[in-house]
Amino acid sequence: MLLRLLPGDPANTLLSVGADPQQIEAAREQLGSNLPLGEQFVRFVGSLASFDLGNSFISRAPVADEIVARLTVTLPLTLLAFTLAIVIAVPFGIVSAVKADRWYGAAISTVSQLGIAIPVFWVGILLVTAFAVNIRVFPSGGFPSRGWHAPAEALRALTLPVLTLAIVMSASLLRYVRTATLDVLGSDYLRTARALGSTFTEALVRHGIRNGAVPVISILGIELASAFLGAVVVERVFTLPGLGSMLLLGIQQRDYPNVQGVLFVSTLLVLLVGFTADLAQRLIDPRLRDKAGAAS
């Protein structure tokens, strides 16, 4: 809605220098961009209610088809990056907390601090320079024309983007894991468990991780949601045909149906992630289940 207030008109994208005024008006009428804002919005909400995302102004293709095609890039990208980020962040986060007094504990903590400060696109450019231009093991960008029908090529194309996103995500995730672990380490129940005869590792694995996991999971939910946003930048750096690049192009071209479609779908995804995170927390922590049961 706000986008429609910006100067510019989708009809402009379709016309070029040389078109005459009648052609411009005809194009605006065809797209409905000559209508008052209110009416454009009512039309959009009306079609959304019937689960019709409409057709792109520019390519004329159904928005829903385009989103589905692009999800085959964005979903694997974010989920792989997310998994990789967890694999990196959880063990290193725990180690850096448990061994905070050792040099490597401090080193991990410092590196992660640095990771938070580095912008995503810069990590991407560095990786391209190192692994694509210099030693040429991975492509510098793009996605195979046959998509997942060429799984090996598709995976190779996604390697650097996934790494980029995972590096940046794991840096902030690691901080949260570290903090949660430190909290757990200072807690009474861990001391009690040790007093009852558990070794430090036993106590940490049996009680510590379960307790520490609860806040970390809600952060994970937020991280995954923001990974969809981070994908916008990564897709741009690696010219991947995902949802992020669709959103950017849609904004440049004032292709409102495409922009609204992408925002609608990404909002759904974020809600879904939040819901899953809630469920996961309840599975891990019986106290949350009891409270929910008592409330209903």
Partner: protein, 511 residues
């Protein structure tokens, strides 16, 4: 790779070191012969990967697909009655012959026999009529619609003959018809599919990424020298260059970032070709408004800008200075660089004569993409020397179209004009820059109704000279047109006139 280096390496290994000049001469000879060898040993089924920055917005050139569709589809997927060749001439394609009546108002076209669309339907006169009417129809977003205005009727006396009647002579009709794709009149979806007669058919289009064309086995003409063409689309020049460097693409259609040239130029793995460009960097005034309605002010500004320095700072040794809107490839080109040469003192004198001895202030609407912001900075500093203050206002391409092209709400702006033969814009007083000289309007109009091309050329040359003398706009420079490929790839067009990129002659030998 059978490139120049491999052969040169062998040569110098056997004969040892020679005088530099001799080696250089031999290097030239050897690279020519190795190119020949590469062309002979090409792979007939090769897949050619083309890197480009211009993804089509959809697949129909009358539905606002943008310049990318001309690049991908003209003469590759769709053919016209005529084709504008890479050398700039107009040749017959689907028209095997045509006759013009003595009054120049009736054109009779005979169609090439045995032509089939990719769907299998035969080409008939009705398809041609349908195709021309599509471009002039009410839904057409084609920028060429206006140039086909003289057409009053299209008749199809038989399946093989098309008769086009005009209201006035139109000497450029064959040229203008080279933009009209001949499509099957039964085709359903032309925005995401195709049904043309060209040497390739559309295989797949993955939006935001690739567009693949496959050789059509039922093509009526000469077969392409490769099996498949895949256009790979990029959104920025660096990513495009990286793709070529890393071998992800074989050729890039036009270099847009001058800084990147160095890494390809002295590298034997790549071939750098400079073609003839039609893209002009234009500093356009709104000639309707004060102070730009005064020819002295416009001439003063033209003289106050050191265009040579500007071109050099952007493109180094590449590019060409032009004294008007006409590139050297148009028949009505004359060198007009001397009309308003760089001369700060005479610029100041002209400003004083115009009553602006103390200068003035204006706003320069600058599109936010390269090279316009840099050019704007340069103009600002140059004009400061004659007392003119420039306020740079950065806008997006989309806003440019609404504010400047449509509403004419501006004082001055920057824009690149890509097309061939577009001097006609100066004959339209309603065009965005608002240049209105009745003599030029008349010359451009009557040039179109000329009976001979000599007459047309004479009139347009005169128009060209007049706009330069009036300093209708300030023509900063002609972009270079640079195509870079891997050394084992040859046979691609280098001029890219009107953004076309014919793929059927591209040959690729084994690396």
């Amino acid at each position: 790779m059978i490139g120049a280096t491999a052969l040169l390496g062998k040569y110098s290994g056997r004969y040892g070191v020679r005088a530099l000049a001799v080696t250089a001469a031999f290097a030239g000879f050897l690279s020519a012969s190795s190119a020949l060898q590469a062309a002979e040993n090409y792979d007939v089924d090769a897949s050619i990967k083309i890197g480009s920055l211009y993804e089509p917005q959809n697949l129909d050139n009358i539905a606002g697909a943008g310049q990318g569709i001309n690049e991908a589809f003209n003469s590759n997927v769709y053919e016209g009655l005529f084709r504008l060749t890479d050398a700039g001439s107009v040749e017959k394609v689907l028209a095997s012959d045509y006759k013009v009546s003595d009054d120049g108002l009736t054109y009779t076209f005979t169609l090439q026999p045995n032509v089939k669309f990719h769907s299998g339907d035969p080409l008939t006169a009705k398809d041609v009529k349908f195709s021309i009417e599509r471009v002039v129809g009410p839904d057409s977003k084609s920028s060429r619609k206006k140039s086909l205005e003289p057409i009053t009727s299209i008749e199809t006396p038989d399946d093989n003959t098309v008769v086009v009647k005009l209201s006035s002579r139109s000497i450029s009709l064959p040229y203008n018809l080279s933009y009209v794709w001949i499509v099957n009149d039964a085709a359903k979806d032309l925005t995401s599919g195709e049904d043309g007669t060209g040497p390739y058919k559309l295989e797949d289009w993955r939006r935001g990424s690739t567009l693949s064309l496959k050789r059509s086995d039922s093509y009526w003409g000469e077969k392409p020298t490769n099996g498949e063409v895949v256009f790979n689309y990029f959104t920025d020049a660096t990513a495009l260059n990286n793709a070529l460097l890393t071998g992800a693409v074989d050729v890039i259609t036009g270099v847009q970032s001058p800084d990147s040239l160095a890494q390809f130029k002295d590298n034997a793995e790549f071939t750098v070709s400079e073609g003839k460009s039609t893209t002009k960097e234009l500093f356009a005034f709104n000639d309707r408004v004060e102070p730009f309605n005064d020819v002295k002010v416009r001439k003063a500004i033209a003289r106050a800008i050191d265009k040579k320095k500007l071109l050099n700072s952007i493109w180094g040794e590449y590019g060409t200075l032009i004294g008007s809107f006409v590139p050297p490839t148009d028949p009505w080109y004359v060198d007009l660089n001397g009309v308003d040469p760089y001369d700060v003192d005479s610029a100041k004198a002209l400003l004083a004569e115009a009553g602006h001895a103390d200068g003035f202030t204006f706003t320069l609407d600058t599109p936010n993409y390269d090279p316009h912001p840099i050019v704007a900075q340069f103009i600002k500093s140059e004009l400061a020397k004659v007392g003119i203050t420039v306020n740079i206002n950065v806008i997006t391409a989309n806003e440019w179209y609404t504010k400047i092209y449509k509403a004419h709400d501006f004082q001055a702006t920057l824009q690149e004009h890509v097309n061939h033969r577009d001097i006609v814009f100066y004959g339209n007083p309603d065009f965005y820059w608002g240049y209105n000289n009745p003599k030029v309007v008349d010359l451009i109009k009557s040039a179109e109704t000329s009976t001979t091309t000599d007459e047309q050329t004479a009139k347009l040359t005169e128009a060209n000279r007049t706009i330069a003398e009036d300093a209708a706009s300030s023509w900063l420079y002609l972009y270079p047109q640079i195509v870079i490929s891997k050394a084992n790839v040859s046979g691609y067009p280098v001029n890219g006139l009107n953004s076309q990129f014919f793929a059927y002659g591209i040959k690729k030998s084994a690396d």
